[in-house]
């Protein structure tokens, strides 16, 4: 208990609290601008943390990262520009809710359940780190291959509308992912000698194009009528309305948090897969699956909790084995070393007050999310008061800036525009966009894990079922595909 007291004293320092507040605001700012990511927020903070003590240094990064992941949901819900691939899983629901004049409910749900997911993930981090890290170490390319297959299958089955159209969209995404030379054999594919294309299709410019630029084009083509006319939200009762959601969906919130933490703790997976799988699980077990994708809050609750829990979960392998769980913890491990908090099982033995302080910072950061998030929603909602004629060019401007910032060249902007036109054409033909995003994000992982597994197994297919965890996830993935087929056959027989 003495250690806990020391840890509390370390965190309760006004300097630390001020740093947390400042980096929280910084994180919100970066996260809510499309194209600026949580990883970027963390990388920008690192040089500043050189001059801080360990606790404020880590506090700055933890707070900024948590805040920017949540803030990515704000432009997603208000303008249909998902800040991260993780929020792309439920952007359709959130945006539909905004169009129906329920942006308060949508953003409130994302905010409150993000905080709940983050806190849940932190509790698991505190209580079960060593055990979970052991499980994470058992995952090799075979297990990840099946996990990615499961994630991609989810994209098809959760998509509203026909699975065939979802499949078309997924294949478009998977194709775009094959461009460039960042593949296992380092072969340049579909680059036509172009230097920029060697780097492949960067998914953030593509995502901004598919969702946001496409929306601008739609407004241009269809005029005021076809374009969405966002209604003004208000923040009154932002929190109280979530109590009802908590009563209605307690299982969903817990399931999302649990699954998110678990997937986040796997170094080869992360918040993206976590959000999609949780959204799919939510739809599968929902009493009203038909309402998903049409502005239903249930998926927001589960997937929103899941991706924030995954962010906390990513710290588990990072702290115990120095293995980054995602791109943010990859940066954090470097900072931990510089601050003398060397990751490893011994991190809990040497200077335990620092680790306890870290845990307290995690809890505080997730609590701080509530008031700061409320403020951000209140400010950001004013965007919707702007008339369409003015708003659309501004969105396009943000698209250009965001796309440029990822590649630091005009290539990102061209990429964004190409995908904008593609997204427009897809939506005009009722092809959903979300599966393409997932294909683009998971395509490289699918290929990489498949190729490395085949190399390791000397080309033996059965190796995909030889390891117990791989066999389990593999069986589940195959079942996901078989069940609808079997049902279809049974229905035809009955008819």
């Amino acid at each position: 208990m003495n250690v806990l007291g020391q840890a509390l004293a370390l965190v309760a320092d006004p300097y630390v609290l001020l740093v947390m507040l400042a980096s929280g605001i910084f994180g919100l700012f970066v996260g809510s601008i499309p194209g600026l990511t949580a990883t970027m927020a963390t990388a920008l903070l690192v040089p500043i943390t050189f001059f801080m003590d360990p606790v404020p240094a880590i506090a700055a990064i933890v707070t900024a990262a948590a805040m920017s992941i949540f803030a990515g949901d704000i432009p997603g819900a208000l303008l249909r520009i998902p800040g991260t691939p993780a929020s792309a899983a439920y952007v359709e629901d959130a945006y539909r809710m905004t169009r129906d004049g329920r942006s308060r409910d949508a953003l409130g749900a994302v905010l409150v359940f993000s905080a709940i997911g983050g806190i849940f993930g932190t509790l698991i981090l505190i209580l079960a780190s060593p055990a979970l890290a052991e499980i994470a170490l058992k995952f090799s390319s075979f297990e990840y291959f099946w996990l990615v297959v499961l994630g991609l299958s989810c994209a098809i089955f959760v998509s509203p509308g026909s699975p065939l159209r979802a499949m078309v969209s997924l294949v478009i995404g998977l194709f775009a992912a094959t461009i460039g030379m960042d593949n296992p054999a380092a072969q340049a594919r579909f680059t036509f000698g172009n230097l920029d294309l060697l780097a492949g299709v960067s998914f953030i410019p593509a995502m901004i194009g598919l969702f946001a630029a496409a929306e601008v084009f739609r407004a241009m083509v269809h005029g005021r009528k076809g374009a969405t006319a966002p209604l003004q939200p208000d923040t009154k009762g932002l929190f109280s309305s979530q109590i009802a959601n908590m009563r209605r969906y307690p299982v969903q919130a817990l399931r999302g948090s649990g699954l998110g933490t678990l997937i986040g703790a796997l170094p080869g997976a992360g918040a993206d897969i976590a959000a999609w799988i949780s959204y799919a699980v939510s739809k599968r077990f929902s009493r009203t699956p038909e309402r998903f994708g049409h502005g239903h809050v249930e998926g927001l609750v589960e997937a929103g909790a899941s991706n924030n829990a995954a962010v906390s979960g990513a710290w588990i392998p990072a702290l115990v084995f120095g293995i980054p769980g995602d791109s943010i913890t990859a940066i954090v491990i470097g900072v931990l070393y510089v601050k003398g908090m060397n990751p490893g099982p011994t991190i809990f033995l040497h200077e335990p007050q620092l680790i306890y302080a870290l845990f307290i910072v995690f809890l505080l950061a997730n609590l701080l999310m509530l008031p700061l998030g409320w403020l951000a929603i209140r400010l950001a909602s004013r965007v919707l008061k702007v008339p369409q004629k003015v708003l659309m060019p501004i969105i396009l401007l943000f698209c250009i800036v965001g796309a440029f910032s990822i590649t630091n060249s005009a290539y990102g902007v061209v990429l964004m525009l190409v995908f904008g036109v593609l997204g427009f054409l897809m939506e005009e033909n009722d092809i959903p966009i979300a599966p393409a995003i997932l294909g683009l994000v998971l395509g490289p992982m699918l290929e990489k894990n498949f190729i490395t597994s085949m190399i390791k197994a000397d080309g033996n297919w059965l190796a995909f079922f030889e390891r117990p965890i791989a066999a389990g996830i593999g069986a589940l993935a195959i079942l996901v595909w078989l069940v609808p087929l079997v049902r279809l056959i049974l229905r035809r027989r009955a008819a």
Partner: protein, 348 residues
């Protein structure tokens, strides 16, 4: 979107200093310009004292990686030395081709410099680009990390000589290694070692991975036999007792791992390989800018901040001035080219 945030905290202050400096500079440029242009028709750029505006430091690898960390701390220190903002710009992709091309292709006015990594000695052999180290003005080498040889703690090979004999006896495809992509630097490091021991390179199958951490995780999970990456990258797993370091591919033992023998001590092999990072500029920089940069880089390298940062991160400190650095880069270019040709990784 990295430029609007110079790595220093108070954004407002940097901005103010900046504009103040510019006004000053404009007046000075104007006066000297007036005086000199009467006699000589020299472009104004050469007259203003370098540096008069922010410098861009291109990092060819992603934010958050090791090269990015070195780039960012250097930007910070150079900023203090030169008194002008130094902004880090990540130009990633294409195994480093995109970023290196951006450095070499920039205007050689001293306002664009970059971190050049060992991949410059590999990419042209692979046929990815025409670009070689000769297209750069190498200012200094600021870091080098020797390769290592690591196995899982429960591996049956507990020293490098036993492992070597087993690979030699095993035949084609008997061992699997991981830690970088196909033809990546640690892959070449392992192959170079095998060649120095006169073991056919086919005996080691390479399992491509995204970086050493992924390869190490896979090794602990039982996927591959060995990872030849730098020992610093396996530090946490070594300390956790999951990974056993067998050797270091350096001339001397590493300060962080005094119990790990060099490859020479362990097996008698002469093979050494270090992954280095240099600061480079496009060829043809004006002499005054070059001299100023050289002095600033050397001061930054010797600063306590840099030395402490590198030691705590477990990165190897290695200083080489322009001539020595260019020589090391050229030697590695020849060595890596030989390994890549032998292994069939080079484009004919």
């Amino acid at each position: 979107m990295l430029h609007p945030f110079p790595p220093r905290l108070p954004l407002g202050r940097v901005g103010r200093n900046n504009s103040g400096g510019e006004t000053d500079m404009n007046r000075k440029t104007f006066l000297t310009g007036l005086a000199v242009s009467a006699m000589l028709a020299v472009p104004g750029v050469a007259l203003a004292e370098y540096p008069e505006r922010p410098i861009e430091l291109i990092v060819p690898w992603g934010a958050g990686g090791g090269t990015d960390a070195v780039g960012r701390i250097f930007a910070q220190l150079l900023q203090d030395e030169l008194g002008t903002p130094v902004n880090v710009v990540n130009r990633t992709g294409g195994s480093g081709v995109v970023g290196h091309s951006a450095i070499a292709g920039a205007n050689p006015d001293g306002y664009t410099i970059g971190i050049m990594t060992i991949e410059i000695d590999m990419m042209h052999w692979q046929g990815l680009t025409e670009l070689t180290y000769a297209d750069f003005d190498i200012l200094a080498m600021v870091n080098a990390d020797p390769g290592g040889l690591m196995v899982a703690s429960d591996s049956e090979y507990q020293d490098a000589a036993t492992l070597r004999d087993a690979i030699k006896a095993g035949g084609a495809g008997s061992f699997k290694g991981s830690g970088t992509g196909q033809g990546g630097i640690w892959h070449l490091g392992a192959l170079g070692w095998l060649m120095s021991e006169e073991i056919p390179v086919e005996n080691l199958t390479w399992v491509p991975s995204e970086g050493a951490a992924a390869g190490l995780t896979d090794m602990v999970a039982g996927g591959v036999n060995l990872v030849p990456s730098s020992l610093a990258e396996g530090r946490a797993l070594i300390e956790a007792g999951r990974v056993k370091p067998l050797a270091s591919m350096s001339n001397e033992r590493q300060a962080l791992f005094p119990d790990v023998p060099t490859l020479k001590e362990a097996t008698g092999s002469d093979w050494t390989l270090s992954v280095w990072r240099t600061i480079a500029a496009p060829k043809g920089m004006p002499e005054d800018a070059r001299a100023k940069l050289n002095a600033a880089i050397e001061a930054a390298y010797n600063s306590e901040t840099y030395q402490n940062f590198m030691n705590e991160r477990g990165f190897g400190l290695r200083w080489a001035g322009p001539e020595e650095a260019t020589q090391i880069v050229a030697e590695d270019d020849a060595n890596l080219g030989a390994v890549m040709k032998e292994a069939g990784l080079a484009k004919e």
